[in-house]
């Protein structure tokens, strides 16, 4: 894999390279469709090649891995498996799509960082697997102190908070998983949650409650992130009393949920009110020949295994769609 030119036509183009996109690639490749996977570009958020699992540690619930497997390693294996059957995986970001006629046209980031003036990829059918990305708090100070105490990646940055007090915002599985992981380094991890109970699964809750280094701050929201050159404190508000107070901390990790990466498709594919892609009859979208899978169309389950399962569905739907004679190219 490289950052070389993508420019070409492919029968099947997969946008995204998380569990959904790479499973779709494995199935399409095994059907001899030589899929082109536009895998995205590196970043330190979940919006990167490999997707959200690239920022996790141990994945314990992916069937077949009895002792668990590291998220990045699991994605490496997905990728190798897709490549083994002939998927062409290219680390480029799609910047624009035109789904108004077939073949569909896509623009990707070229080596100068500018959008190609002409579309550099065309596709008979498209599988959208762009996933979802982590939400940030959107409070004053957060952007400015990103990388200076505010982090989007516990596995990358936990190390820097050895012996220090930090906070995780959120109440779902991701928040608890991060908090438990961070207790390897931090002397104390406070979970700040806007409700008075966690949304996380029972097993994760039990782990959090049993961990002596984890503390809870219920019914609390972060109002402001404070610090001169690095994070020093949070201004938080108690949602029941309305009272504000300061929490002195060295690190802040945000895990408050996700939003789908659908900006590329706005006005071209039907989106639900919550921004997720609408699929029907398996993986079909509102445009004939465009299929969607994984978290970009699933706000309910959002697991690696469900994403992979829906990637398989999309590949099979795409293959059958191509086989129907009216779509076959000469």
């Amino acid at each position: 894999m490289g950052t070389t030119d993508a420019g070409r036509h492919a029968q099947v183009v997969v946008v995204g390279s998380g569990p959904a996109g790479l499973t779709a690639a494995i199935y399409s490749a095994r059907a001899n469709l030589r899929p082109l996977v536009l895998a995205g570009e590196p970043s330190s958020t979940s919006d990167q090649p490999g997707g959200q699992l690239m920022l996790t540690t141990e994945v314990e619930n992916f069937p077949g891995f009895v002792d668990g497997i590291l998220g990045p390693e699991l994605m490496q294996r997905f990728e190798e498996q897709a490549a083994r059957f002939g998927a062409d995986i290219v680390r480029r970001r799609v910047t624009r799509v035109d789904l108004s006629e077939r073949p569909f046209r896509l623009w990707t980031s070229d080596s100068a960082g500018q959008e190609e003036s002409v579309p550099d990829v065309s596709a008979d059918c498209l599988i959208v697997a762009t996933g979802a990305r982590s939400l940030m708090l959107g409070v004053p100070g957060e952007d400015r102190l990103l990388g200076h105490g505010v982090s989007t990646c516990a596995t990358c940055d936990g190390f820097f908070f050895r012996g220090q007090e930090i906070a995780v915002v959120g109440g779902g599985d991701s928040a608890i998983e991060e908090a438990v992981f961070l207790t390897r380094f931090a002397s104390k991890v406070t979970i700040i949650h806007r409700r008075k109970e966690l949304r996380a699964s029972k097993i994760m809750q039990d782990r959090a409650f049993a961990n002596e280094r984890i503390d809870f701050r219920w019914n609390t929201v972060v109002v402001e992130v404070l610090g001169a050159s690095k994070l020093e404190a949070l201004r938080v508000r108690d949602t029941t009393s309305g009272e504000e107070s300061l929490m002195e901390l060295a690190g802040l990790f945000v895990a408050i949920g996700h939003e789908p990466n659908t900006a590329l498709f706005q006005g071209q594919l039907e989106l639900a009110a919550n921004g997720y892609l609408v699929t029907h009859g398996g993986s079909s979208t509102s445009v004939d020949g465009v299929f969607a899978c994984g978290d970009v169309q699933d706000h309910v389950y959002r697991q690696a295994i469900t994403a992979a399962g829906s990637g398989c569905m999309a590949a099979i739907d795409a293959e059958r769609w191509l086989e129907s004679s009216k779509h076959r190219r000469p």
Partner: protein, 108 residues
Amino acid sequence: MSDSVITLSDSDFDLHVKSSEVPILVDFWAEWCGPCKMVAPILDEIAAEHPGKLTIGKLDIDHNLDTTRRFEVMSIPTLILFVDGEPKVRVVGARGKAQLLQEIQAYL
């Protein structure tokens, strides 16, 4: 890896960075950092495409805490471009090749 990619440590960091005749882009990374691994091949490519104009210096933070602290690195990957021994550009977090080149282009 070519000659333009070197490994740095706490003990030889200043020697390399201060004496370098070309800008040196230092990659603060660690084995356990997924995004760092994504950036590494991009840095190799950039080095290969700019022979004689840029050195890439790899600093494994696990074994070189002094330098990591000295430059207040709190998130990896962090890339710092040193020109004539002085830090000029700081990029925190992984980036694509085009974006990285844009950040350092003025000094190449």
